[in-house]
């Protein structure tokens, strides 16, 4: 380009001054940061958008349904024509059943896998196993739901004859499989970040690998492991498609895991895939349920962050 070259009779200083005065460049230099700030703010607005949408529509819902009936009610029957009842507890209990079963599956298996990967496995084994775990984490939830409904449930029915087609057990187990890679890889990260010198110290004192893993590495990595479990459970609470497909649509207030249940997320899906007219109480109820779900997962995520920050061992 001609403007960049040194023209006849022009000194270097002049050239620098000339390029400094170029307007386009200045405008770009000044305007790009502003554009970038705007893009950065979109993520903030998304959060604000979610919170306000949920709050506004939930507020609308509580104009029609008493808030104490909602929080303490043990009967969720929005579709009953004469007297619909909106008590959230059965849905919360359904969600809890699935999450607890999922945690029972994912936590022991996930932590055991993490110990194996971080303490026992050779580099080669690790290079094979970790990508497979990543694949497991990348399987769409709809596929897991299908798997729960058409494979796990029939198998469980052979073992437990009283098990219904829709139940809490099968989606619970499959949600557990879904969150297992998360527990395993986050816990493994936490354990791998424990410095080798500590391991070697324990080994030099005559400890076996098992003793090093359980009595030295595990306690040192505990904050990371616990926060990975909390994050995974929060993921289980928000999981939607598996419980919609395999969990059923019967909100019930008991601790039975062999009968059809309904979770908070499954209720939202049930209403959305039907035709709940805009403006009806049922329409607003999905926002109230969504808001409840949001609070649950937000608290768990904040707890996970708090644990990993507050109790982290620094080396």
């Amino acid at each position: 380009m001609a403007s960049h070259g040194l023209e006849k009779g022009q000194s270097v200083q002049q050239l620098i001054a000339q390029s400094r005065n170029k307007k386009g460049k200045k405008i770009i230099e000044k305007s790009m940061p502003i554009l970038l700030i705007i893009t950065a703010l979109i993520s903030v607005f998304t959060t604000i958008g979610i919170v306000f949408t949920l709050i506004f529509e939930t507020f609308e819902f509580f104009q029609r349904v008493s808030i104490t009936d909602y929080i303490f009610g043990t009967e969720w029957m929005p579709f009953s024509g004469n007297e619909p009842t909106y008590g959230i507890l059965p849905l919360v209990l359904g969600t809890l059943k699935v999450s607890v079963i999922a945690a029972l599956v994912a936590v022991p298996l996930g932590i055991a896998a993490a110990i194996y990967l971080s303490e026992y496995a050779s580099d080669k084994a690790r290079r094979i196993i970790k990508p497979i775990l990543e694949v497991l984490a990348g399987v769409p939830t709809i596929v897991y739901g299908f798997f729960a409904l058409t494979f796990i449930t029939p198998i469980l029915q052979q073992l437990i004859p009283s098990l219904k087609i829709f139940n809490a057990l099968s989606p619970g187990i499959v949600v557990g499989i879904m969150i297992l890679p998360m527990v395993a890889s986050l816990s493994e990260d936490a354990m791998s970040s424990v410095p080798n010198s500590i391991r070697e110290g324990a080994l030099a004192l005559g400890a076996t690998k098992l003793e090093v893993s359980l009595k030295v590495v595990l306690p040192a990595a505990l904050s990371g492991i616990i926060s990975s479990v909390v994050l995974a459970v929060s993921r289980a609470i928000g999981e939607t498609m598996i419980v919609s497909l395999a969990g059923g649509a019967t909100p019930r207030f008991d601790f039975n895991v062999t009968d059809s249940i309904q979770t908070m997320t499954a209720y939202i899906v049930q209403v959305s895939s039907g035709d709940a007219g805009y403006g009806t109480t049922i329409y607003y109820s999905i926002y109230a349920v969504g808001f409840t779900l949001f609070i649950f997962t937000l608290l768990m995520n904040l707890l996970a962050q708090y644990i990993s920050k507050r109790f982290r061992e620094e080396y």
Partner: protein, 292 residues
């Protein structure tokens, strides 16, 4: 006096070593259970679905009859959806990452944005569906269109893309930037001609992985009220459409057993779709990523 009894020590050593061996097996077993789950899932779906997987299946619209049901509309719909999500989410995501890594000062506001992003990543996808329903479908009156769904999904995968792009940008060594400034380049020139070219493989890998998550996502679309069975292809970004996971969801819900096989065939197509995307991402990562 003898302080150490050799036989006792030997005995205890033996039990401890045996315990170590047993637990190693238990840990290995737990790890292989996870792998077993994946293998079972794949075998099960492939054995169920391959019978229904043929050209007619790919070329037919949805139907009430299992033998006539196909995924043409869903396949095209998923593709259109990607065309919206990819540019929107990458523009916002990479922009945010550049701002946070290159421009933002270390202060409370930056910390807040960063914390907000990590919290956003933990919000259940169904909550994004409720956001999209209120804001895009109703307030912006986009209806149940590709655009409304695309915006919703873009916001959903935004945190993933931001974090991936941030990591890629952070991996570019400081010396390169300083060399660029030393040559008289401005900040924006340094970003576009030095930082971004080095960071682009990492950004692309992260973005494609995030996109593949969006392709498999179902819950937000159900909440938006995206229809399931369509007899026509979308003819623009404001057109109605359906996607692969939604179509699979509908088939899986049906009581007739034949539809389970149709659903399995749909899942195979979806998984092939995802495997292709992931392979592209991994190839980019292995081929172009520089280590400094």
């Amino acid at each position: 006096m003898k302080y150490i009894n050799n036989t006792v020590v030997m005995k205890r050593m033996k039990t401890r070593l045996n315990l170590n061996k047993i637990w190693k097996m238990i840990f290995l077993f737990a790890t292989s259970l996870a792998l077993l789950a994946l293998v079972l899932l794949l075998i099960r779906i492939i054995s169920q679905g391959t019978g229904y997987l043929n050209w007619d299946f790919l070329n037919n619209f949805g139907s009430r009859f299992p033998e006539k049901a196909g995924i043409k509309a869903a396949l095209v719909g998923s593709f259109y959806l990607m065309l919206v999500i990819a540019p929107v989410s990458m523009f916002i995501g990479v922009g945010t990452a550049i701002y946070l890594e290159e421009y933002a000062k270390k202060n409370k506001i930056t910390d807040f944005i960063q914390m907000n992003i990590s919290n956003l990543a933990g919000v259940p996808s169904i909550a994004f569906g409720l956001l999209g329903l209120t804001i895009f479908v109703r307030m912006f009156a986009l209806g149940k269109s590709i655009l409304a769904a695309g915006f919703t999904m873009s916001l959903l995968i935004l945190p993933v893309i931001i974090v991936a792009a941030q990591e890629a940008i952070r991996a570019v060594p400081k010396e390169q930037r300083e060399a660029s400034y030393g040559m008289g380049a401005t900040k924006w020139q340094t970003i576009t001609r030095v930082v971004l070219p080095s960071a682009i493989p990492g950004i692309l890998t992260g973005s494609i992985l995030a996109l593949s998550r969006a392709v498999g996502e179902t819950a937000p679309l159900v909440v938006l009220g995206i229809p399931v069975i369509l007899q026509f292809l979308p003819d623009g970004l404001l057109s109605q459409f359906t996607t692969l996971p939604l179509q699979i969801f509908d088939w899986a819900k049906r009581p007739q057993e034949e539809f389970q096989y149709v659903a399995a065939a749909g899942i195979i197509v979806l998984m092939i779709f995802l495997v292709i995307m992931n392979s592209i991402a991994i190839t980019i990562r292995n081929k172009f990523q520089k280590r400094y």
